[in-house]
């Protein structure tokens, strides 16, 4: 019982510490300073883009993992989930040597299309997608596995093509789980720090997202750092509440 109390306190105390330091009267002012607002705007755009990209790529991958047996499926799944446990900095280093200017993909992108991902907003989106994708895949794969296959069979006997079955039965029935996966991926993308700073750098208005700004402001202007932290806490609590509510998990 004591250990349980300690565990809870361990989680709760940092939050209380953060909340006790918030300058509530100046909160709005702190959040609307040029630098803070730029970070918030950038974070919103990048995390939403990363969540969308994770959705577009992750749902098909989850589908393949859930429905097709092929050699090496376990290895593919393990590799897909790796970013969940991989230190984000290491992920950033990996991204650098794949998509960086001298990386084997990045060099081609530069050569053929003149695209540079490092130190760009697109690079932030890429780094955030990298860490967020597994959260979506693991959630949606479980949903596809748990789906009643007879529903799809019923749709097929009613004359629905595979595409129609997917669009009108499979995806809507798995919809709540997909929404949960997108929400998780979005929350993870929003908080991304290590891979972002390693791969995309820390340039105001271009790659300095809220977590990077928090880290920076902690040294120069702690009040703004705390205000920005509060935003991230609020979003996390919001996502968690939504996931636990009836809206997403039935």
């Amino acid at each position: 019982m004591v250990a349980a109390g300690l565990a809870f306190a361990f989680i709760a105390l940092p939050l209380i510490g953060l909340l006790s330091e918030v300058a509530w009267s100046r909160l709005w002012h702190d959040l609307t300073t040029t630098e803070a607002a730029a970070a918030l705007r950038l974070s919103l755009v990048c995390s939403l883009a990363a969540a969308a990209l994770a959705f577009a790529l992750g749902v098909p991958l989850a589908w393949v993992l859930a429905r097709f047996e092929f050699p090496g499926r376990a290895a593919v799944r393990a590799l897909t989930l790796l970013p969940m446990v991989l230190p984000p900095v290491v992920g950033g280093v990996g991204l650098l040597y794949a998509f960086g200017r001298t990386g084997f993909v990045g060099a081609r992108l530069d050569e053929w299309f003149g695209i540079h991902l490092t130190f760009s907003t697109a690079g932030v989106i890429l780094a955030e997608t990298f860490v967020a994708l597994p959260f979506l895949v693991i959630t949606v794969e479980a949903a596809f596995r748990g789906l009643d296959r007879d529903l799809e069979d019923a749709a097929a006997t009613l004359g629905a093509s595979r595409r129609t079955v997917m669009r009108r039965v499979t995806l809507p029935v798995a919809g709540p789980a997909i929404a949960a996966g997108v929400a998780l991926a979005w929350a993870r993308a929003l908080g991304e720090f290590g891979a972002t700073i390693t791969f995309a750098g820390n340039i105001q208005g271009r790659t300095r997202t809220v977590p990077l700004a928090v880290y920076l402001f902690l040294q120069s202007d702690p009040e703004v750092a705390i205000a920005l932290s509060l935003v991230l806490v609020a979003v996390s609590v919001g996502v968690l509440t939504a996931l636990r509510g009836r809206w997403l998990v039935r």
Partner: protein
């Protein structure tokens, strides 16, 4: 319309080895204990389960020969009423019934009109806007029947379609279903535990035991036993 099926399916330890034929407009009743292979048989005719050997023809056209030919379920014109309905949980009763027509390219407004008529025919018109989760077992079963009948398939596969309907309503639901099958002119394979589901005493019946046809006869022969 006619159906012939020589079906061999191996599923682990279980072997299904059945041949049957249903003539134009006829109903074939299939009885047998749980695990005798009744549902496996229906699934293979529907194309949901590929057969390992044999041949299935609908109106003389081969739809599966266990080898090269295997027509996908959506192209078979086979209607299948599942034992536990399997209504789409995210669609209303009306949208469930309109689903098949819409999937076959009927404009959605026309599909809804016909879906409503079919629900009315099965006595559940007033439940049109309800979600499947809010329907009683008997109502859900009628909606499931309407959903399949509205597509007017050439072959109708019914898996215990009246079990969920309470005993007092069963004769009327059965009468509607059999009358609709007759008006469509389809062949019907009816899996049931209750020989009273057979439309007439002359209705052909097969009994499955362990994946084999143990007995063939007429409804009258089976009920008198």
């Amino acid at each position: 319309m006619s159906l012939t099926a020589t079906v061999r399916v191996r599923q682990g330890e279980f072997d299904l080895d059945v041949d049957l034929s249903v003539a134009d407009g006829e109903v074939l009743v299939v009885v047998g204990a749980n695990g005798a292979g009744k549902t496996t048989l229906l699934r293979s005719i529907a194309g949901l389960l590929p057969i390992d050997a044999g041949v299935i023809t609908v109106d003389g056209v081969v739809v599966d020969n266990g080898d090269r030919v295997s027509v996908i379920p959506e192209a078979r014109s086979v209607g299948y009423v599942f034992q536990d309905q399997r209504l789409f949980p995210h669609l209303s009763a009306l949208e469930n019934v309109a689903f098949g027509l819409a999937a076959r390219g009927v404009p959605i407004d026309d599909a809804r009109v016909r879906a409503r008529q079919e629900l009315d025919a099965f006595g559940v018109g007033e439940s049109a806007d309800q979600a499947p989760g809010d329907l009683s077992g008997g109502q859900a079963q009628r909606v499931a029947l309407a959903r399949t009948f509205v597509t007017e398939p050439q072959v109708l596969l019914l898996d215990e379609p009246f079990t969920a309907v309470d005993a007092t309503a069963r004769p009327s639901v059965r009468a509607v279903a059999l009358a609709r099958a007759e008006s469509i002119g389809c062949v019907t394979v009816l899996v049931t535990h209750d020989l009273a589901d057979a439309p007439i005493l002359e209705t052909p019946v097969i009994e499955l035991v362990n994946g084999r046809v143990a007995r063939r006869g007429r409804a009258a022969d089976f009920s008198s036993k």
